[in-house]
Symmetry: C2
Subunit: 501 residues, 2 copies
């Protein structure tokens, strides 16, 4: 499992026990090395400088470039040592061959940590690349923490550090920490989180992981009060013992969600040319991750959905659920999927059914569970009563509402209004929140949308707005029922094993 | 398998050998029974009248209502018999208890077939509902074909018949026929097809299937020259022998894709209250569908993706593929998924790799396969050369390009232009079409998009436009790699078994 990684350069907790993560994630003074004074520069350093400025970084920014000059009215320092006072964190975005020298300068300056965005190291598979990365490891071992090289850096919504290029990421903090060996997945996941409702404590793209990497970062996040869920995209690991020991310890405190890339033969080959890590055998990974109570997922969509569920659902198991929606076939699909994931959709008690039937249009509806409201435009107050009734059944532990909001389009057209004006998504969100508060049973909403063409941009926008209203009230939203139910199953698996029933 | 369905009412081919499907799907004269002259009516009949008018139905429309009156300047006939000349097809949208009488009138008038949108029949599970449905069966047996009741009717892009409520469905015909027991799934699937690029020959929502239903319709579609792919959503079947025999025969001619709802216990319960059909055992369904070379799918998304692949890919197996995209982790994911579905991603021949490297930015790219172009904004002409080179490897049978068009957003912002103006999606589509024509090897494009929030409506619109450009040139588009690869696997499974390698 540990592969061929050289042990001498690998990090260990004892070397860095006093790592000042506070200075790394919430720097008061930040140096960005490799910012260009040239007009129109699109280099990594300039790009990140602009991104960090745009997102509204809390501390002071010091651009650095041996050529000096100014950028956006700010003086560019020629060297890190020229920056007055203590520098907490530095971004290094210069050609690979100059990195060791600059890293050494940061060490001398007392910088707590750096992120190296530059590529051209061990991922090349060349002797020169390996040698340069070894130099970085050697300098790091003297007392400066390194994230990267070949990475997109750190995103910390609270301090305003952002990934490259992430000027438009959210400044709202939340429970999810995300570790990623891939910069592309890190930035895409951070963007996905923004509209899907996943709020981050930290996102760390650590690329080649010359110094700080998976095991040590998991250890840190397990003890980080800002982090409630640890998610990661891992291509290969340095030390299997360390990695799985840290996951096991972390999973005793909070859920750990792992997307392991490179489980296949071809995938491992792709890993090698991407981040120069050792892959691993599919069966071994699956079995060991299960042993340490990590939740394994198989793509970034599933990763996002699982993080959302862990963020917004209470940590317990949901063995039986009710499903409410318009359209009988949706109920059928929901039941099939639920059974597949070991979740029950029990028929409601007869007395409750009778109560529910009072709020259902006839004919075509059904109050059994799944509850088929037949008409997708049943008003919010009726749905509220239905949800309250269904929650009275003691077996029901969670409710899913399938909201077919796109059906409001023909009404909007007939009334010559915009779909946004005729669709009661805010009332629905408010009602559902009241039901959750009253019953103590979570509600999940799914917002499928078959209308995604150019003529239906208004429907697309409506769904985005509706999603925001539900999320703003702590109600998780998924596109498809299948996604929601799989995510519940992950929460169940984790909670059951942790024995928080 | 055949459940408790009464045999006496079930259709058989011998009864209806002379069914005039031409008059049903392409009626010259269409009666819509249950149109209301009242201003603001939202009844099914009025709704469908407006939908069929809006979509531009080719023939003559005759609204019918015993109260008479006019609608949109058109005379409403009091009875079907009052309509001058031959009526080919009729829509019946009136209260259930009046349906048998009106159906009898249609029979007398010589109408070839009707669709009954009304519900209130066997799906209620009441004696009255069963009795009414039996009356319909009895009348149908005298020589008029019935679609429904409890259905959304027929969509035929060529003639302009449309589902309820489908005024905005496409008029472009194509190879996919879709049979659905659920009206909701029928209309949603037709809408999904519109933007996903699935073109339909016919969509038939047959609801309770009192007369025309699965087996007979499959038989018809198997021999229908306009249909190249038969897809269906089935909740329960009347006669297992008939059904599987017809699928087996059809699958010898064209792919048959089956989404069976109600495989679970709870799902079967939901089926009963939805379309009053018998469900079935999961294991039996899966094994029998495999035996008859049907492709089984498990949700409407997978159904749509599979139909798209069968529509646009040549019917053969694709055992080895190349994957080209920007971002190393995508290649890793692609390989993992491909292996999971039994598809190879072989390293390209060394000479080809060298040629490809000339077109790749450095560092960070890889020409092995997956080909990592590192920069998601590599221009169309370079991508064209890369695709041409990769296709020269004899093992490669299909190419997937992962297009991260959302990365053009920061460029657009920097250039103060719209993302639509700076993104070369049309050039990409044109280049890819040229590559397919030159190499004879299909290209599939995936257009993932992590930017789907309110601030990124421009990116969402761009992806829609890009999808249209690729589809217009016969290049299938999927959102996610996983979807594309699973769809290829379905094509492989069908083609291999049909021995068209």
């Amino acid at each position: 499992m540990s592969g061929n990684a050289k042990k001498n350069g690998s990090p260990s907790k004892t070397n860095h026990q006093k790592t000042d993560y506070e200075r790394i994630f919430h720097p008061k003074k930040l140096a960005i090395i490799g910012v260009s004074a040239e007009y129109g520069s699109t280099g990594f350093g300039t790009n990140l400088f602009r991104s960090i400025t745009a997102i509204g970084f809390q501390g002071e920014i010091f651009p650095v470039n041996p050529k000096g000059g100014t950028i956006d009215g700010l003086n560019i320092f020629k060297k890190v040592e020229d920056i007055p006072g203590i520098v907490d964190f530095a971004v290094i975005a210069i050609a690979a061959r100059y990195v060791p020298k600059v890293l050494e300068e940061c060490l001398k300056k007392g910088v707590a940590g750096v992120e190296i965005l530059s590529s051209g190291f061990s991922e090349l598979g060349t002797e020169e690349g390996e040698e340069l990365e070894q130099q970085i490891k050697n300098i790091a071992a003297k007392g400066i923490r390194v994230i990267g090289p070949n990475c997109f850096g750190i995103y910390c919504p609270k301090s305003g550090l952002t990934l490259m290029p992430g000027p438009d990421l959210s400044r709202q903090s939340g429970p999810v920490a995300f570790l990623s060996q891939s910069g592309g997945i890190a930035i895409d996941f951070a963007h996905t989180g923004k509209w899907k409702g996943i709020l981050f404590s930290k996102v760390i793209s650590f690329g080649n992981g010359a110094d700080l990497r998976e095991a040590e970062l998991i250890n840190y996040l397990a003890n980080d009060d800002e982090t409630g869920v640890i998610a990661m995209y891992i291509e290969g690991i340095h030390d299997g013992d360390d990695f799985f020991r840290e996951i096991k310890a972390a999973a005793r405190k909070k859920p750990v969600v792992v997307y392991k890339g490179g489980l296949s033969g071809a995938g491992q080959r792709a890993v090698t040319s991407h981040t120069a890590s050792m892959g691993g055998n599919r069966a071994i990974w699956e079995s060991v991750l299960k042993q340490v109570n990590a939740i394994q997922v198989y793509n970034t969509e599933e990763l996002a959905q699982t993080c959302l569920a862990f963020s917004l659902l209470p940590q317990r198991s949901f063995h039986a659920i009710s499903i409410i929606g318009g359209g009988g076939a949706l109920g059928v699909a929901a039941c099939d999927t639920a059974e597949n994931f070991g979740i029950e959709v029990p028929p409601l008690a007869t007395s409750l059914r009778e109560q529910i039937e009072e709020f259902l249009p006839k004919p075509g509806s059904s109050a059994i569970n799944p509850i088929d409201v037949a008409n997708p435009t049943v008003p919010a107050h009726a749905l509220k009563e239905i949800l309250l009734c269904a929650a009275e059944d003691k077996r029901i532990e969670l409710q899913i509402f399938v909201s077919l909001l796109y059906h409001y389009k023909p009404y909007a057209l007939a009334m010559k209004k915009s779909i946004n004006d005729v669709t009661p998504y805010r009332q629905l969100a408010e009602s559902f929140r009241e039901v959750v508060d009253k019953t103590g049973k979570p509600i999940i909403v799914t917002l499928p949308n078959p209308k995604k063409g150019l003529a239906d941009l208004d429907v697309i926008e409506l769904i985005i707005r509706a999603r925001q209203e539900f999320l703003a009230r702590g109600i998780p939203v998924f596109d498809e029922l299948h996604d929601a139910i799989r995510a519940i199953a992950h929460v169940n698996a984790y909670s059951t094993k942790r024995k928080i029933k």
